[in-house]
């Protein structure tokens, strides 16, 4: 990629401000590393409770990401491609959970899906399904806060995609599904991956909605962020180690998300040689 090697003369003020921004994000991390009890770190890391929480966090956040893709891509497509009345309102509604305080989101989920909720009471009555205090509840809470990140990323990619590509595919006799699969999806793949990773990161770090809606029980609903929060009460050293584990896992994933995935959508020459 030529972009990586390109040098742009950045004006000095911008460079300084960018430097401040980097320090702003780096310093808290340095603080964590500075306070970390390195001599005891291994004991905390291999603690059963911590490993259980980490495993639960990985499983639930991946499930939430999968759900976000399954429902979020069609939603993004609807918002980008179908012109219907009230589209702006629907978009705002679907992105609301990004700005809603997560604890409020958790309470709202109770009103919707709790055992006294609008829908939840029937889930309980007809199917015997109760989401609060279950692992499924954790996934629901995480998906609720994470999916908007995927929707917003994919929708913007779909909007930037030249519709003539899809038109061409259709004129050449491809079905809608074939066109979506072979033309649209490959073209928005970078955005889809970026959106999925952002959703995953949000789900992995989710705290407020989870502890409110799903509660806190080791093995079923106690994810890493909850474990960190509770160990702050009694053992701040352990909390720091657990927090660093979360940071390390997220850092690895986000570094893996290379620059180019944050670029624009695939250009026509990449899609149709």
């Amino acid at each position: 990629m030529t972009r990586r090697g390109r040098r742009v003369g950045l004006p000095l003020p911008a460079l300084l401000l960018a430097g401040v921004a980097v320090a702003f994000f780096a310093l808290p991390l340095v603080g964590l590393l500075w306070r970390a009890p390195w001599s005891n770190a291994w004991t905390y890391l291999t603690d059963d409770a911590a490993l259980t929480a980490l495993r639960l966090s990985l499983v639930t956040s991946l499930c939430a990401t999968a759900l976000s893709i399954v429902f979020g891509v069609p939603l993004a497509w609807l918002l980008a491609r179908v012109d219907f009345p009230g589209r702006g309102a629907v978009r705002a509604l679907c992105l609301l959970s990004m700005v809603l305080p997560p604890v409020v989101g958790g309470v709202a989920l109770f009103f919707a899906l709790g055992r006294r909720g609008v829908v939840g009471q029937y889930l309980d009555e007809w199917f015997g399904v109760t989401l609060p205090f279950t692992t499924a509840g954790v996934v629901v809470a995480q998906t609720f806060v994470a999916m908007p990140f995927l929707v917003i990323t994919v929708e913007s990619a779909l909007r930037q995609l030249d519709p003539r590509l899809e038109d061409a595919s259709r004129t050449l006799g491809a079905s809608r599904w074939y066109t979506f699969r072979r033309v649209t999806l490959p073209a928005i793949r970078p955005a889809l991956i970026a959106g999925a990773v952002l959703s995953w990161a949000r789900a992995f770090g989710e705290f407020g909605a989870t502890i409110t809606f799903a509660g806190n029980f080791p093995g079923t609903t106690q994810t890493m962020p909850l474990a960190v929060f509770l160990s702050l009460e009694t053992n701040p050293e352990e909390a720091i180690v657990l927090a660093l584990v979360m940071v390390a896992v997220s850092f690895a994933v986000l570094v893996g998300l290379r620059d180019r995935w944050f670029g624009a959508v695939g250009r026509p020459e990449q899609v149709a040689p």
Partner: protein, 248 residues
């Protein structure tokens, strides 16, 4: 759009006015456990009514969070803890100016939905596996008390969740998502009509002691002493009693 701009302007004005309030000579900053929020708010009002030159600012949070904030150098005059253990952490760190005094007690109680639909009358009833019972996490005082109560009663209870604080337990019962929880008597009183309490017999109950102390780094030690005296005075104790706290 214009309404939004006006709203923002009003909010900004409100915020800037708030920050203009410079602390007066009698300003006292009190860090107090979340469970005394309502009682201390009223205590503060009564205190400033009796001492017009005084100004009390509260910071309510979990006792252990408050200890952490004070240890990190938060400017505070008085610390009121929900348990002796957290106060001891400060005393041991040399951050208390004098020996802490117990100013109130609180008892654990079973909280159930209004009308007690599940007919819960004792700790033993909570062993029913069909009930959704929640309690505080063992890391926070109310969770440790709940565990002690279950142990003293010889009952094995399987809670569905270990909540981060007592307010979360109350909220889950209020919302109807949990059938019962273990909280403080004062919490049941504060929930008003939305929940009711089932007392735990004295023999197996835990009495929580609430200590108060002036901090070593108090910016206003005189004001701090005066506030603590007020909490321990008859007027202060009457206010605490009206919120369900027991005498020390």
């Amino acid at each position: 759009m214009r309404a939004v701009v006006v709203l923002i302007a009003v909010l900004l004005a409100a915020v800037s006015c708030g920050s203009d309030d410079a602390p007066s000579g009698g300003a006292v900053t009190v860090f107090a456990a979340a469970s005394v929020t309502a009682a201390f708010t009223e205590l503060g009002d009564a205190y400033t009514a009796a001492n017009p030159d005084a100004d009390v600012t509260f910071n309510f949070a979990g006792s252990s969070d408050l200890v952490a904030q004070i240890s990190e150098g938060a400017p505070v005059d008085v610390f009121a803890s929900a348990d002796l253990a957290n106060m001891a952490k400060l005393t041991d760190a040399g951050l208390d100016a004098d020996v802490p005094v117990v100013f109130a007690t609180n008892a654990a109680e079973i909280i159930v939905e209004a009308g007690n639909p599940e007919g819960i009358v004792s700790i033993a009833d909570l062993a029913d596996a069909d009930l959704v019972v929640v309690q505080c996490a063992l890391e926070v005082p109310c969770g440790a008390y709940a565990a002690q109560v279950f142990a003293s009663a010889g009952v094995s209870v399987a809670p569905k969740s270990f909540e981060a604080n007592v307010n979360a337990v109350v909220a889950k019962v209020n919302l109807g998502e949990a059938d019962a929880g273990i909280v403080y008597r004062t919490d049941v009183l504060a929930a008003g009509g939305r929940a009711e309490g089932v007392p735990i017999p004295d023999g197996i109950n835990v009495i929580a002691e609430y200590p108060i102390a002036v901090t070593a780094g108090a910016p206003n030690p005189t004001g701090a002493d005066r506030f603590v005296e007020f909490v321990l005075s008859q007027a202060g104790q009457e206010i605490l009693a009206s919120f369900g706290f027991g005498a020390p």
